[in-house]
């Protein structure tokens, strides 16, 4: 079996796979090995997609594969399945198990499973600093002896031990594992092993998966065995289970834990913790039933100050009014007029619906400062470990919507970019939760750009206007979530979330992550901005805009009580909601909207259809049917809420 592994597949580099428990620093190690950045955060489940990168070592090139974290190679969740399937299908030259040095037992549980699979392994004990602070020392020499594999300690955040790890990749070995299961299980393993075909991992490990009732193995079985053989395996599995009162999967896990504990006892020494108590204290307080709330308010206030006031206020003023308004746009007009004596082209670039004067100004002048500040704030939140604590605080509210606290992560990320957040819904366990969260993101979570524009418009009116907008959107989220949870079938998912320690965010990581996200965002947004502007430009040129405005008049003018020109913003909103909001901003700056109209139009545009990029992501993640259905619900729903709000505000004669 081993020869197969080292045989080079034509045209491909030899593969090295990184595997490990969630939140142990696989992506950080991946970054250090390959020089390629993969999102590193301080919460479990950051990596939802497999990343690939190259590493050169002594003139030889390897393909490094970063995988989602796993606690168990008998998958309990989608990400665990992704990783296990990689082991089933790939033939890596080496596997590096990245692990958290302070959680040795959980590390070893995985090592033992990898050993059972018979794969060539190197064990990497990462976060040695945190283990040391907690008074934990691991005798790596002894551990190497027991397992028969190289064991390398690292501190990825300080780049320590990386060269040792690289060098060790040359010498992977199959770990020695001696887990004895219940005699009955052992005999059934033998029976099943004899029936299985040759595979990339040991037949014993596949037999254990089958006995554990691993449903996710079905695909592999179906491609490698006949229906009759599979049925036979099913029967063996059922008859084995029938002889135990506890689930067999549990007995298997238990034996593994016991074995891991046995090894742990021989190599782990505990002494008094040396680290400071401040971080753990902040960690406890931020999820405290009482103190957690003022801390949450403080965090929100901090974000508001940084993103809302500094980003959307100061920076946008600087960029839009000064940089673009005073210099870039006037220059652009001069240059375009000088170089292109054709009026049509001049208007196309710098006219009312010009690519430079409208699309680029919006993208760089308004959107860029807001997105950048938001992503900086978000990266700090992520890396500090606060988000999982926020999940604890918000768990009950999310329960109303058929979700649990875990959904806080994609929902907050949605305030940055809904498209990114839609992809991140993969960290949720059930399909039902993913659909509900995707729907709520698409319906009501304004992305950073939109949020910035909206806050920028509301702030000059009054705090009351902001509250009414926020209250309407929040109430809509709750109501829509509640209804969705009643309509969408499926079980409620149990809340189960690992809480990482509070850590001081690394400046470099925050910067690198922010740049990566802003880049993604601009790549996604700017083409759509230009497309939208072109669209408007031609509609205007061809005088179609007037007809559309007239056609939409009953809804926009009568029902929402807005000026007909607001229709333009909604057309832009089809491409991107923030672009639509920016259109409203222009109207409002031109004095064409009353405060009430501002609030109504903003609530409507907030709930408006997801942007094109997000729509494509929904199709990718959830399929065309679900995406169309969602859009079909959201479109009328946004106008309905806007209209109801319009009548309610007028009826109650609310003054701003």
């Amino acid at each position: 079996m081993h020869e197969h592994r080292t045989k080079k597949i034509k045209g491909q580099y030899e593969r090295v796979i990184l595997i490990g428990n969630p939140n142990v620093g696989k992506s950080a190690i991946f970054g250090l090995l390959t020089g390629k950045y993969a999102t590193v955060s301080n919460y479990p489940g950051t990596t939802v997609e497999v990343s690939y990168g190259n590493m050169s070592l002594d003139g030889k090139r390897f393909l490094i594969v970063d995988t989602p974290g796993v606690n168990n190679l008998i998958p309990m969740s989608e990400d665990e399945r992704v990783t296990r399937d990689i082991l089933l299908t790939e033939k890596p030259v080496a596997i590096v198990q990245v692990s958290d040095a302070k959680n040795l037992k959980r590390t070893l549980m995985l090592t033992l499973q990898l050993g059972e699979m018979g794969v060539p392994l190197i064990l990497n004990l990462n976060m040695k600093d945190e283990a040391r602070d907690r008074g934990l020392t691991i005798d790596t020499k002894k551990l190497e002896e027991i397992l028969g594999i190289r064991t390398i300690t690292t501190i990825a955040t300080q780049r320590k031990g990386i060269n040792n790890l690289k060098e060790a990749i040359h010498g992977p070995r199959i770990p020695i594992t001696k887990i004895g299961y219940d005699p009955l299980i052992e005999s059934q393993i033998e029976v099943i092993t004899a029936l299985l075909p040759e595979a990339n991992i040991s037949r014993r490990s596949i037999a254990l998966m089958i006995l554990s009732g691993d449903e996710s193995l079905k695909d592999w079985l179906n491609t490698n065995m006949s229906a009759e053989e599979i049925k036979n395996l099913e029967e063996i599995k059922d008859s084995t289970q029938a002889r135990f009162s506890t689930p067999v999967s549990y007995l298997i896990n238990e034996a593994r834990i016991k074995a891991a504990e046995g090894i742990g006892k021989r190599v782990l020494k505990r002494s008094h913790p040396k680290g400071s108590n401040l971080a753990p204290f902040i960690g406890r307080m931020s999820m405290h039933p009482l103190w957690g709330i003022p801390i949450l308010i403080l965090v929100l206030y901090g974000i508001y100050q940084f993103v809302g006031i500094f980003g959307a206020g100061t920076l946008v003023n600087l960029m839009e009014k000064a940089v673009f308004g005073k210099y870039l746009n006037p220059w652009a007009v001069k240059i375009v007029n000088a170089l292109l004596p054709v009026t049509f082209l001049q208007e196309l670039l710098t006219g009312e619906y010009g690519i430079i004067s409208m699309a680029i100004t919006y993208a760089i002048g308004i959107i860029l400062p807001i997105t950048t500040t938001f992503f900086i704030a978000f990266a700090i939140l992520e890396d500090s470990g606060y988000l999982p604590r926020l999940a604890i605080m918000a768990n009950r509210i999310f329960k109303v919507m058929g979700l649990n606290g875990k959904a806080v992560l994609p929902m907050v990320l949605g305030l940055g970019c809904d498209t990114m957040a839609t992809m991140t819904t993969r960290i949720l366990e059930t399909k039902r939760e993913r659909i509900i969260t995707t729907f709520l993101l698409a319906l009501a979570v304004p992305c950073s750009a939109q949020l910035g524009v909206i806050l920028g418009m509301l702030a000059p009116i009054s705090g009351k206007a902001t509250l009414i907008w926020a209250g309407s959107v929040f109430a809509t989220v709750l109501l829509a979530g509640f209804l969705a949870s009643k309509v969408i079938p499926g079980d409620k998912a149990e809340f189960f979330l690992e809480i990482p320690p509070i850590r001081l965010p690394q400046t470099m990581n925050v910067i690198v992550k922010t740049i990566g996200r802003v880049e993604w965002y601009l790549k996604e947004a700017v083409p759509l901005f230009i497309l939208g502007t072109l669209f408007l430009f031609f509609l205007n040129k061809l005088n179609i805009l007037i007809y559309i405005e007239r056609f939409a008049s009953p809804i926009v003018v009568e029902f929402l009580g807005l000026p007909a020109k607001a229709t333009e913003s909604f057309i832009l909103g089809f491409l991107r909601r923030d672009y639509g909001a920016a259109g409203l901003l222009a109207l409002s700056e031109g004095g064409m909207l009353t405060p009430l109209q501002v609030v109504v139009s903003l609530v409507t545009i907030t709930l408006f259809v997801p942007c094109l990029a997000n729509f494509f992501m929904i199709i990718k993640e959830r399929g065309m049917r679900v995406a169309l259905l969602m859009a079909g619900i959201i479109f009328p729903f946004a106008f309905l809420v806007g209209g109801v709000l319009n009548f309610a505000l007028r009826a109650l004669e609310i003054q701003f």
Binding site: N71, N72, I74, M76, D100, K102, N103, K105, R106, M109, R134, L136, P247, S249, Y250, N253, E254, I257, A260, R284, M287, H288, P289, G292, P388, A391, I392, M393, N395, R396, N404, G405, E494, F495, F496, L497, E498, I499, P501
Partner: protein, 220 residues
């Protein structure tokens, strides 16, 4: 319970079984107020057997009302206690929803030793799942004086104390065992609200109350 009493009225039924059922019913009526003789007879459909119970010295009948004698009182208390303990066991530990009929059989089958063991195991619960009081047994009075309950749900222990996991029920066993939470592991409850947070070695996890109810621990 009413339905079952009728079933047990079959001809040739063991006299002791009948008397147990009757005493249990009387106990239950008495919790609500008076015990009218006609109501008991109507429920159990056997007039002579009720009169026989008076002859056996279990009950006294006066002005159409039934009173328990001290012997009857003790027997009624015991049988009610066994029934309600059985209910608790079925609901809390075995997670059953249909348990009434089995609880009725169970109450006749167990010895005082088993009864005491179950009571201790459940941590001397004060009430049955329907909220009715479980009559205290000998083990309970000892417990209030010196020992704490043997096994409790994680949801019920106080924050900050280390506890050893005794067993885990429910659908989450797999996930919990993946992070090393199995019987024998030592956990510490950090908080109960807004969610349950528990520590196991160097790992902290947040879970729902439902899940915390499925983890049974012993304080150490």
């Amino acid at each position: 319970m009413i339905e079952k009493s009728k079933k047990t009225m079959d001809q040739g039924m063991d006299k002791r079984l009948f008397q147990d059922e009757a005493l249990e019913f009387i106990w239950e009526l008495r919790e609500k107020g008076e015990v009218k003789k006609e109501e008991v007879i109507k429920e159990l459909e056997n007039r002579s057997a009720i009169n026989e119970m008076e002859r056996d010295g279990l009950i006294k009948i006066k002005d159409g009302k039934i009173y328990l004698t001290s012997e009857g009182e003790k027997k009624a208390s015991d049988i009610t206690r066994r029934h309600r303990l059985a209910e608790r066991l079925f609901v809390d530990v075995l997670d059953l929803t249909e348990y009434e009929a089995d609880a009725c059989k169970f109450e006749h089958a167990i010895s005082p030793e088993v009864e005491e063991a179950i009571c201790t195991f459940l941590g001397h619960p004060p009430k049955c799942p329907h909220g009715k009081p479980i009559p205290r047994g000998k083990c309970c009075s000892i417990f209030t004086q010196k020992i704490s309950p043997l096994v409790q749900r994680l949801a019920d222990i106080s924050v900050g104390k280390p506890a050893r996991v005794v067993f885990i029920t429910g659908p989450v066993m797999g996930k919990l065992s993946s992070i090393g939470l199995i019987p024998g592991a030592i956990v510490r409850l950090q908080q109960k609200s807004p969610s349950f947070v528990l520590e196991i070695e160097e790992t902290s996890i947040a879970i729902d109350e439902d899940m915390a109810k499925g983890i049974f621990v012993r304080i150490i």
